[in-house]
Symmetry: C2
Subunit: 132 residues, 2 copies
DNA sequence: CCGAGGTATCGACGAACGTCGATAGATGTG
DNA sequence: CACATCTATCGACGTTCGTCGATACCTCGG
């Protein structure tokens, strides 16, 4: 029996992501982990799942998601893993069923990454005068 | 000659994106356009560019970005187009040079997509509640 | 302890993506 | 005008991604 991928039970949520997009000391690694989070939300089906969990505000059985998304069961499992790996969802086993729920703080934190201080930015047009 | 891709000058920023992640009436199309925005930020190099523009708060010449990113010139051009197509960046031609700048409102709006009302989220099972 | 049913992983496939060299288009200069 | 330079597009390549059928894993009920 060949070695398989890590069992999903061992998957841990990543550290408190992320550095603000306007941070003046963002490292390439910071950018990579930030991009990884956004990539998790870069699929329409995964956005729909997050939306469902955000409105439901309850854990949802993955067995209901195949109909909701109109995808095959392995595909749904694949998407859920992406979201759990990103730390945006939590997984809970209830008997035979797997329930997924949103991690509101993780979602909020990711949103705050895009919030930067107001400043000489809102002028709407390009600044004038720098040549070179 | 053969029909080429649309000239970049005609690219227009998309409509006011997007529906909040907690919207109870999010359509699959809404999810698709939201996912497209996040996908634009799903690449480390593009995150670095947005970070640079957010800290610089000025338009930046694409000629400086090849060194900044360590990528070939066509690759940089490719990434910038993705960001402009997503509506996150603006492009301005200054003589021979192409300057790109951030669209702060677009970035902020995307961040607000992930902001949903506080509520009975942290109660019960799953950790990380902190509902507040 | 065995069978039934829900779920994750495997393996494969086509599509999309990131990358670059070559090249075409655009703009300023002699 | 001819030329040099900057940038976008083209075409190609290898990698990653989304998808699904088959299958292994896991939990429960008999």
């Amino acid at each position: 029996m060949v070695a398989r991928a890590e069992p999903i039970a061992l998957i841990e949520a990543p550290a408190q992501c992320c550095v603000p997009i306007a941070a003046d000391d963002m490292s390439p690694d910071d950018a990579a982990s930030t991009a990884a989070l956004f990539k998790a939300l870069g699929d329409p089906h995964r956005v729909r799942v997050v939306n469902l969990l955000a409105t439901t505000r309850e854990a949802v059985c993955i067995c209901d998601l195949t109909d909701f998304l109109g995808l095959a069961q392995p595909t749904v499992s694949h998407h859920m893993r992406k979201l759990v790996d990103a730390g945006l969802l939590a997984r809970e086993q209830r008997g035979v069923w797997a329930y997924y729920s949103l991690r509101p703080d993780a979602v909020r934190r990711l949103g705050e990454v895009l919030r930067f201080a107001d400043g000489p930015f809102g002028h709407g047009r390009f600044e004038e005068g720098e040549g070179r």
